[in-house]
């Protein structure tokens, strides 16, 4: 009788604690990020604004891929572009691909930006910011570094420096 009571009490308390624990976990500990480091990068495709060529992420297997989300009104994005372009030139023959996704601006603005900055890597328009939402991007710029095996190696929110960017690119260089 006494033993039973202890078992029943333990069971009831366990159920209550489980329910509360779950709520706390969801509210306070679970990260809101849609994508985390070591996840597989979600596949997408973009059309380069200049060449009209379509790039699909899954076709880049074996390459280290840098996915950069940017907007022409965002000053840190403007600071980054020249050195991203420079580092791309250094590493493009060693298996690094850069895909830049503009946050749903007009083609006129994007092509002008690309030609003003002389960008040599593919730049596409993320229509309605669908891919941006899929990747759970908050502030711009946000850059994802994808390893040759298709897994996300690093997520960098905010502006990078040339040195740090080069380091991150080296992390995803194919062997």
């Amino acid at each position: 009788m006494k033993k039973n009571r202890l078992i029943v009490r333990t069971a009831i308390l366990a159920i209550l604690i489980a329910a509360i624990g779950y709520t706390f976990y969801i509210n306070f500990f679970k990260k809101d990020e849609v994508i985390a480091v070591n996840d597989n990068a979600i596949n997408f495709e973009i059309k380069d604004i200049n060449t009209k060529k379509t790039y699909t992420l899954s076709d880049q297997k074996g390459k280290g891929v840098v996915i950069n989300f940017w907007g022409s009104w965002c000053d840190p994005c403007k600071h980054e572009m020249p050195f991203i372009n420079k580092v791309y030139q250094e590493y493009k023959d060693r298996g690094i691909q850069i895909l830049a996704l503009n946050a749903n601006e007009s083609p006129f603005v994007v092509s002008k930006f690309v030609s003003d900055y002389g960008l040599t890597f593919p730049v596409g328009i993320d229509k309605d910011q669908n891919i941006l939402d899929l990747y759970g991007v908050g502030p711009l710029p946000t850059t994802f570094f994808v390893s040759p095996n298709g897994k996300i190696k690093r997520i960098k929110i905010g502006e990078m420096t040339e040195e740090s960017f080069r380091e991150y690119v080296k992390e995803i260089l194919p062997n």
Binding site: I12, L16, I20, T23
Partner: protein, 549 residues
């Protein structure tokens, strides 16, 4: 040892106030009995304590429950003094808002974390504690109470009778006849009468005693429904904006549904078109000032196939619908409600190429603000090139024209105009009410020729599979409340002691009504109406007090 023995021989759990079997009060005074929980021991009063028992005991205390509820009340009240962080105006900077707006008080408020009361871990902990306390308090009391009422004996200890609020001793010659009379009357009043050795126990409305527990079950189900919201897929509350002509993905539908807005309609009450009897009411606010209708005419599409994100989806029309306030578009568990709107958003500017001297106009050209073209050919020899476009124009730190956002809130353009007269081209900077010519005197200018605007609708995207749980919880809550409020548990003990007849009465509420009923029952009999021992002492009318569970 956790039991003790009553003089009748029954073993009672520790903490028992009134013997479960004979009803003898275990204290030795003559005060009125506290009939709470029928004088049973709460189940948590045990000597041997494990950690589980200790937690259980903590939450089984009504005093603790009251303290938790009070703290929650105070915290909720404090949380409403200043606006919560997530409800600040969009232009405010939350980090400085409290200090700037409310001074030191605001700073303290922010520092204490009261700016985020209702989403904080400690508030959630308080609410969960109330839930735990609700479950444990209820269980701890309803089980012994149920047992006590189910097993109650007709013959009770004389001390039990004496110490009921309504009590009287009478004597009569023909006990049998008088008792039968009373018994019949009690049964007519729908009392359940049990007999044992010539003693009577009449009882009705025991069902009322379960009211608070039914009520608590409702609350627990309600709280469970609130918890369910956090289970993925059960609840969603998102928002989307669509401009006229646009087709947008419905957030939270995993890209499988799209909505296209054809037209957003905003109507007001106009005295000319409304019935004359409304004239006064309308004019009190002002004609054309009272909103009548917010309506979004949309088409719902379903995506066909499974395209890669970024690829243009193939869409199949599902249906046309007019979303109005309280008339949501519903599909696949999702409801789209009309909640917000923006009227007359700039979408295109028209310009004429104008010869400043002659005033001759060429054009017009229409510049789509969300998708401008690079070259506008007017006619052979006459063309306008767009050199730069700033959707939300301002001068940046370097003093150059720049854009603050990508939204066309304040569009500005750099045009290059080429005509047979000016084959080299002339450059002009054109913004709203501005026309700057960097090269001095141009022969031509871009003359503003018109503005195209569109409306947008703000829709909330809702999914809620917890509503039925909340409704059931709420309904049970109400049933419990009604059960406990509108029924009374009334009991009358009539016992023969030698030549005397002892009568005692108990009700969990409304002694006034109980006494009125008893008056009719004992009217014209030899058995005297029981006296109200509280009223006799205090000599005040206490109709509805002394409510006990």
């Amino acid at each position: 040892m956790e039991n003790f023995k009553c003089e009748c021989g029954h073993m009672n759990p520790i903490g028992t106030v009134i013997c479960e079997s004979c009803g003898k009060p275990q204290d030795d005074n003559s005060n009125l009995l506290d009939m709470k929980y029928e004088g049973t021991a709460r189940r948590s009063i045990v000597k041997n304590k494990t950690i589980i028992d200790k937690i259980w005991n903590f939450f089984s205390s009504v005093k603790i429950a009251i303290v938790i509820i009070l703290i929650t009340l105070i915290a909720s009240a404090l949380g409403t003094i200043l606006p919560q962080r997530d409800l600040l105006p969009p232009t405010a900077n939350p980090d400085t808002f409290y200090k700037d707006t409310y001074g030191v008080f605001g700073q303290i408020y922010d520092w204490l974390g009261l700016d985020n009361t209702f989403q904080s871990w400690w508030f959630m902990l308080l609410i969960s504690s109330i839930g735990v306390s609700l479950v444990i308090c209820s269980l701890d009391r309803i089980i012994p109470l149920y047992r006590a009422l189910k097993n109650q004996r007709v013959t009770r200890h004389t001390n039990f009778l004496k110490r009921q609020r309504l009590f009287k001793i009478s004597s009569t010659k023909n006990e049998e006849e008088q008792l039968n009379l009373v018994k019949n009357r009690l049964e007519k009043k729908k009392y359940k009468v049990r007999e044992e050795n010539g003693n009577l126990l009449a009882e009705k409305g025991r069902f009322s005693r379960w009211g608070p527990y039914v009520n608590h079950i409702g609350l627990i189900i309600f709280l469970f429904g609130v918890l369910l919201r956090y289970v993925p897929g059960m609840y969603m509350d998102k928002a989307m904006w669509v401009q006229e002509g646009q087709t947008k993905e419905v957030p939270g539908s995993n890209g499988s549904y799209y909505v296209q807005l054809h037209k957003f309609i905003f109507e007001t009450y106009d005295v000319k078109t409304e019935n004359k009897i409304f004239r006064k009411s309308i004019e009190r606010v002002g004609n054309d000032r009272i909103p009548k209708n917010y309506q979004a005419n949309v088409t719902l599409y379903k995506r066909v196939g499974n395209p890669i994100p970024g690829e243009d989806p193939k869409l199949k029309k599902v249906k046309d619908y007019s979303i109005k306030v309280n008339e949501p578009l519903q599909f696949n568990g999702i409801s789209l409600y009309q909640v917000d709107y923006r009227l007359n958003e700039m979408t295109a500017f028209s310009f004429d190429l104008m010869n400043k001297k002659t005033g001759e106009l060429f054009g017009p050209i229409k510049v789509d603000l969300s998708n401008p073209k690079a070259i506008y050919q007017i006619k052979p020899g006459y063309k306008v090139e767009l050199k730069s476009y700033f959707p939300d124009f301002y001068f940046n730190k370097a003093g150059e024209p720049d854009t603050r956002t990508k939204n066309p809130n304040n569009p500005a353009f750099v045009f290059k105009m080429t005509t047979p007269e000016t084959p080299q081209g002339e450059v002009a900077f054109v913004a709203i009410r501005q026309n700057i010519e960097p090269n001095g005197q141009n022969k031509y200018k871009m003359a503003f020729a018109g503005l195209e605007t569109k409306n947008s609708t703000g829709l909330s995207v809702n999914k809620d599979y917890t509503l039925w749980v909340l409704s059931i919880g709420g309904a049970i809550f109400m049933i419990g409340l009604i059960q406990g409020m509108y029924w009374y548990h009334r009991r009358i003990w009539i016992q023969r002691q030698n030549d005397e007849i002892w009568v005692a009465g108990f009700t969990n509420k409304n002694y006034y009504g109980f006494k009125q009923e008893l008056k009719k029952i004992f009217n014209d009999t030899d058995i005297l109406m029981p006296e109200d021992q509280v009223l006799d002492k205090k000599s005040i009318n206490t109709g509805g007090e002394h409510v006990s569970n």
